[in-house]
Symmetry: C2
Subunit: 585 residues, 2 copies
């Protein structure tokens, strides 16, 4: 099975389900959901959803998962879609519920998650009158973050419109869709035709034409110092094996896409050719004479860059399933629009048939590895003894050491992210999900959706203390449904990212203690978690992490481990070594 | 001073502050803020705000109030503006921070709060490249909820644009505005001209022309059964005294605007002519031959109404500062566009000069009062003994009994709202703020802003357990700044509003225990509050409320009182008497 389609490409049954009919609006929803393999609907309902909730009593095959904030409903659906690569449903209430879901809908949009957002709207007979919880142009709130937005116009079209939303969400390039449905239509009775889903599967995992493949193969074959950038699209297409084969055939170093674009890791981090994330100014980037962005974005800039993002002398090949990502900012020499798995296979076949192999000089790869080793050496300086204040690099090392290959890490740790990504180097790849949206709180709910989608795998959410507050209501769903996620909360008691930005802006004219409004100390995170019925434990020494983590892993429900880390470290990206700590280690 | 302008109508100093200049973007913001009397800026900042945060060190006269979620920043600003009737500022970070603030911006929009939202945007040099935390059309997210949205185009215009936002927000009809400012402009250095605020005060508290006043006076004078509807615009214009004078001159009953539009109470609830809220189908409405909507909205419909919203035989007079509210749904006989205070004074003068007085038959008022007394009688049936499960009507009676006339009630209690509004009848008016936005969690932050604006008055937030979870991060700001708000949390352990909607939809075919997804039991609200460092207490018996409330009142910081109420009562609007309790009392 090619991953670009996921299992929605498979017929549900051997026999054909042709068009059929249901008797009311709510049943139409359930019938479409069922045909698209939906087993759960994430919601925080209101009065507009009464008919749907009532319908759920007659459709026990679909679980209505209650959340206590729409941000949680959306991030859970997003998480579920990311790990299963299947469509998911978030059902939001009116304009206010939708508003609460927008920030994480942005995260789903960037991740190309096929989340179908259903939005319960007030009855049409009062919606034109500025009724309670209505907006004049509801679609304006979502248009930028969905592939398709539509308000159902009449009862007969309910199943057709929802079916279309699933079709569009699951067609490459994938992404969220939004359908508004008025309460009166949902509550209406009368025959509704339900489309035969199997006839709405579009096999959209295309591959580039032969000329583009030929150009890419020649460009890589001619390069002396080719660099491969493994991006999220590779992970989504499950094409890691193909990336490894390409890297080994070319003898080329591989980096993950840069940390501001990265949503997952798609190359084995213990592979000798893997050299961390893409960093303008690094040896491996500046010395490359050809760079192959494979399913990566180029780029999601955080700030204007000091170094050229791409060295001017390098030839650029860019593969992506979404043509809009190619030559978005910087021009390219070869463009490859297509599914990463199919396209990489085409490329490998072409390289094989023309006999191109190990074009890269061993000198380039060797020097690049050396640079990487030096960086690791610097990093060791950040590991103090076990008994000092907990340092994040030591924490993430411990976390990765204690978690097996099956463990899924869901990251939403802002300033700790770089340390986490660094820690992966040289270790066997574990599945990682993160968000490049900057929408804080995402992982609190996403980790729950991921666990529901991968019940056999341990799931660890790695979040900051600020993030914890943004996603707090997720703890209610975690407890209520007994979802066994281990939350590791890095409590540095501050908005360190704000501090880092101030330091960038000010230089070192002020000490961090003088920075305004970055101190968010106070909340007892473990204790708040206990208030939600979630097992909470606070640790102040790194040596306590292992027993806490192991106990959490053995529990059936969720656990929050509050890790009190060194509050004097603002963390990367701007300050790899804290002042006064330079000599430590 | 006429209230329509609030104190922004007064020059800041005796001497004229003409145009002046500042040296950088951040200083321009502070200078404009200062001129408009801003003493606090509510924010949850990110890297785009570094220059502003740094600037705050040189502008100690303005407090930067940190919140841990943008929804809190917006609702605090809204609350402050509601109580002071002055402009306020919420400073949000990028597209994600803005997204988190939209739901409560809707509340500020409905309340016509002059909240100026400043939105820190990424530098222009990368914003065109789909940079980190950017949107293609940021303004689409706010346009429906602000009077003006604008992105600053160049450094020289920063002060001009922000000044314009204040001008527009504070000009009647008031409302929020939004200005986006790119990081590079904020960080830029170079002379910026700051406008002389005093020349941007528009005295917009207009009054209708003489013909309209004459028509209104004649219509009221001719009526035998005139009904006055006192709306929010009366409260905003501080025209309660004028409403009392009008009611007494006409011998007319007064109702507050209907519960779905109501944001405050603007008529003394212990006045003998006060008869609760506007209810289609009630005697006082159906029998009226003239209805004067004074600053009320007609209407914010929750659902299609069974009774005619306005009796067809009644003549309709509508006064509002926003012409769009008049004849919005139903036609009117007399329209009065103007400030409530000035216009009511004009009307009173006209009635006096033509000798119109006590036109209303005493029979209408007497019968209307009788209907009201009967409703009160029914309500007494809901008061069980002090030792049973706590009933909300008994709780709100106790709350109003224990709070003095100065106490400000900030309501966000969904299904308990009707009980609260009913409890006001016959008691001396206390200031009440609520939101007709349906944006849950609003009061958690709004109460904090209200307390900052009225430090001498006790402030009680009356919220549901669902609302508590929506607004949880407000507790961080409450504790951090030691803001003495008493949160009374009605913990019925359910989304009762969802249950009420299901009951409306289904009739009594199911018992509430069978209703899907309305059970949100679990969180220990008092204990969670303690985790935030906020004093928390849980009470299971009504007799414990008084000591808990009195202790809270005497404390310097915030308190959360978790009140465990009867979980079998879904509460109004759909179920005034719980099944099985009809005989109680």
């Amino acid at each position: 099975m090619s991953s670009g389609e996921s299992s929605v490409g498979r017929p549900l049954k051997a026999g054909r389900v042709r068009m059929s009919k249901v008797a009311n609006g709510a049943d139409a929803l359930f019938e479409v959901f069922k045909r698209w393999g939906i087993r759960r609907v994430f919601t925080c309902p209101g009065s507009t959803e009464a008919a749907f909730l009532n319908g759920s009593l007659s459709h026990p095959e679909i679980d209505v998962i209650l959340t206590t904030h729409e941000s949680v409903a959306v991030s859970m659906a997003d998480g579920l879609s990311r790990v299963t690569r299947e469509p998911s449903v978030a059902y939001l209430h009116a304009n206010v519920g939708l508003a609460n879901g927008i920030a994480h809908l942005y995260a789903a949009h960037i991740a190309r998650s096929p989340v179908v957002v259903i939005n319960g709207l007030k009855p049409r007979s009062i919606a034109n009158r500025a009724a309670f919880t209505t907006a004049h142009d509801t679609r304006d709130f979502v248009r930028q973050y969905v592939k398709w937005d539509w308000e159902v116009l009449r009862r007969e079209a309910i199943a057709e419109d929802i079916n279309r939303a699933f079709k569009i969400s699951t067609t490459s390039p994938r992404g969220p869709t939004w359908v508004g449905i008025a309460q009166d239509l949902l509550e209406s009775r009368g025959e509704i035709t339900v489309p035969d889903r199997d006839r709405y599967i579009v096999r959209s995992n295309v591959r580039p034409g032969p000329t583009a493949i030929e150009e890419a193969a020649r460009t890589l074959g001619d390069a002396k110092r080719p660099l491969l950038v493994a991006g999220d699209d590779v992970a989504r297409a499950e094409a890691s094996d193909e990336m490894v084969a390409l890297s080994e055939r070319l003898g080329a170093p591989v980096v993950a896409e840069d940390r501001w674009s990265l949503e997952s890791l798609s190359f084995p981090t213990d592979h000798p050719n893997y050299l961390g994330t893409y960093r303008p100014g690094s040896y491996v980037v500046t010395q490359a004479d050809a760079i192959f962005f494979a399913g990566a974005r180029a780029f999601t800039e955080f700030e204007p860059s000091g170094s050229p993002a791409i060295p001017p002398s390098a030839r650029v090949i860019h593969l992506h399933s979404d043509a809009r990502e190619i030559a978005k900012i910087y021009g390219v020499d070869v463009s490859l629009v297509g599914d990463a798995q199919v396209t990489l296979n085409d490329l490998l076949f072409r390289l094989e048939s023309t006999g191109v192999a190990s074009a890269a000089t061993s000198e380039y790869l060797r020097a690049a590895r050396e640079e990487r080793e030096q960086q690791k050496g610097q990093r060791i300086g950040l590991h103090p003894s076990e008994e000092g204040p907990i340092q994040v690099p030591a924490l993430v090392d411990s976390l990765l050491e204690l978690s097996d290959e099956q463990t899924i890490i869901v990251d939403d740790s802002t300033t700790s992210r770089t340390a986490l990504l660094d820690a992966f180097n040289g270790k066997r790849l574990r599945p990682l999900y993160t968000s490049s949206s900057g929408s804080l709180g995402w992982a609190m709910g996403a980790a729950l959706g991921i666990k529901l989608g991968a019940p056999g795998q341990p799931v660890v959410a790695f979040v900051g203390d600020g993030v914890f507050q943004f996603g707090l209501p997720a703890l209610w769903a975690a407890e209520h449904y007994g979802i066994a996620v281990t939350y590791v909360v890095v409590n540095n008691q501050s908005y360190a990212a704000v501090g880092a930005a101030l330091e960038r802006y000010l230089g070192r004219t002020l000490s961090p203690a003088q920075f305004p409004v970055m101190d968010i100390s106070g909340p007892k995170i473990a204790s708040i978690s206990e208030g939600f019925g979630v097992h909470g434990i606070r640790i102040d020494r790194l040596s306590d992490f292992k027993p806490a983590f192991e106990r959490a892993r053995d529990r059936e429900g969720p656990t929050v481990i509050e890790v009190m880390t060194d509050t004097t470290v603002l963390g990367p990206p701007y300050r790899p070594l804290a002042k006064g700590r330079e000599g430590a280690g």
